[in-house]
């Protein structure tokens, strides 16, 4: 059942490719805005690169959060998912996994290309990818809590941003910290381990909060 749900979400995302690509283009555009706003000096760009890539990834993730449950909420599928004999925890995990594959993996794949624009070294690019790989699932699963709380509300997008950004801050700090560490020559290991710890903890606890929030919102 888990597999079927993930598969279903992947098919649905594929048939609505435009939505998914919009998030990716948003990420690219935002990253490109910074040099335009700050100036193209190589050194400056190299210094701000970790932060810029991560902040843009955060913002792009946030934009896509409405899509985790929004569509299902509107056509009544979400209720049916909550009425299956499967625990809601697994339903949430399946949807978050599908969301991560669809919305976050493209970011992870394109980030190195953008990193090159900012003059990051090979090592830096590798750490960018690894940190995003570890951090984006956390963004998805913590974001799912915000998405579930704001289902069906007016201006849900902005509200979700308000709710979820403070919770994203540790991920941002650890993620960009890892990249910065590699840029300045020190070891990013500690940061990456912390990211990994956050990943495990959030995967265990956040879906529980999300399923509680779903039941509250679906009433």
């Amino acid at each position: 059942m888990f597999g079927w749900l993930v598969w279903r979400d992947l098919i649905l995302a594929w048939r609505r490719r435009a939505d998914v690509l919009a998030t990716l283009f948003f990420f690219i555009i935002v990253v490109s805005l910074f040099p335009l706003g700050i100036g193209p000096e190589r050194e400056t760009l190299r210094t701000i690169a970790p932060g810029v890539v991560w902040v843009a990834a955060l913002l792009a993730s946030m934009l896509s959060l409405g899509r985790i449950f929004g569509n299902d909420y509107q056509d009544g599928t979400l209720e049916q998912l909550l009425l299956t004999p499967q625990p809601a925890y697994l339903v949430v995990l399946a949807k978050v996994l599908a969301h991560w594959i669809v919305s976050e993996i493209p970011l992870v794949l394109i980030a190195p290309v953008l990193g090159v624009q900012f003059g990051l070294s090979q090592n830096g690019l590798a750490i960018v990818v690894v940190s995003l790989l570890l951090g984006t699932p956390v963004l998805s699963v913590i974001g799912s809590v915000g998405a579930a709380l704001t289902l069906g509300l007016r201006a849900a997008n902005v509200l979700v941003a308000l709710l979820v950004l403070p919770l994203y801050i540790p991920v941002l700090i650890f993620g960009s910290g890892a990249v910065q560490a590699s840029v300045t020559g020190s070891s990013p290991q500690a940061w990456l381990l912390l990211l990994g710890a956050m990943l495990i903890v959030s995967l265990v606890f956040a879906p529980w909060a999300t399923s509680a929030a779903l039941r509250i919102s679906v009433e």
Binding site: V145, L149, T150, L153, R154, A155, L159, L162, L163, L165, P166, L167, I169, P170, I173, F174, G177, L194, M198, F205, A206, A209, A212, A213, I216, S217, E219
Partner: protein, 308 residues
Amino acid sequence: MFRSYSPPGQPARRCGYLWNSGIDFSLCLQCRSQTKVYGTRYGIKVVTATHSDALDQRKCGNFMSKNRINLYKYAAPANFYPLAGKLIPLFAVPSAILFILGMYVGFFVAPTDAVQGESYRILFIHVPAAWMGMFLYVLMAIYAGVGWAFNARLASMMATAISPTGAIFTFISLVTGSLWGRPAWGVWWVWDARLTSTLILLFLYIGFISLQSSIDDARRADRAGAVLALVGVINVPIIYFSVQWWNSLHQGATITKNSFKMAPSMAAAMLILLGACWLYSIAVVLVRVRYIIREREQEAPWLAEATA
């Protein structure tokens, strides 16, 4: 002796005991059968008995035994409303007194600091405000959690009432922290761990308040707020730790707040002002919760009697 009431025009029923709780179901102590709410008399709910299984055991509230204080009855917004009204001056007046006393001690009794001169005195407001911001967030999360877990409306209303006060204290601590920093560091804002964490705490408060104000249905707002507050409370240590880490790596202005010795009168002033802030918070939260009760219980007839 127990008295039994019945609604006007109806014959007296066997079990007409008075009880109160926030939930419409309870068990009458005398006949142990399930009771349903019938109507109100003197602001207290009157019940009649129906025969079904017992669900709950709460003591009948007001007429059971005059010398025992039954606290459960105050869990109902209906009964808490007048109690809160009576309590407000009990907290507001001492709060004002302590505040004046604390300011006096802080500004006239406490000595001038060797390093920072007179400008450190703003800490007397900054430190209590920062502590209040943090304590109130935890308290708000506890109330919201209790309101969600036990389906207690009043607890959720208390959480909603606490949130603006907590946000205001956090904001005050940010502003006063910045004002303190200006003479000490030369800039209006610095990204040290404490100020940054306080800023994030303010964002958490704003998120909670925005979420609750965007949801029209009161109970959904209560429960959604509870989930958010509990998630926030668990995240606060994580956020604080990560900001500490971030700050220690990017060695900016390393200011330690304890860069001066605290004279006893300084500590006294801070504690007095902290007490004043607590009393003030309680008074203001009670005022606000009365407002929320009034807003939400518009349909209840008891309200007209209580506010008449």
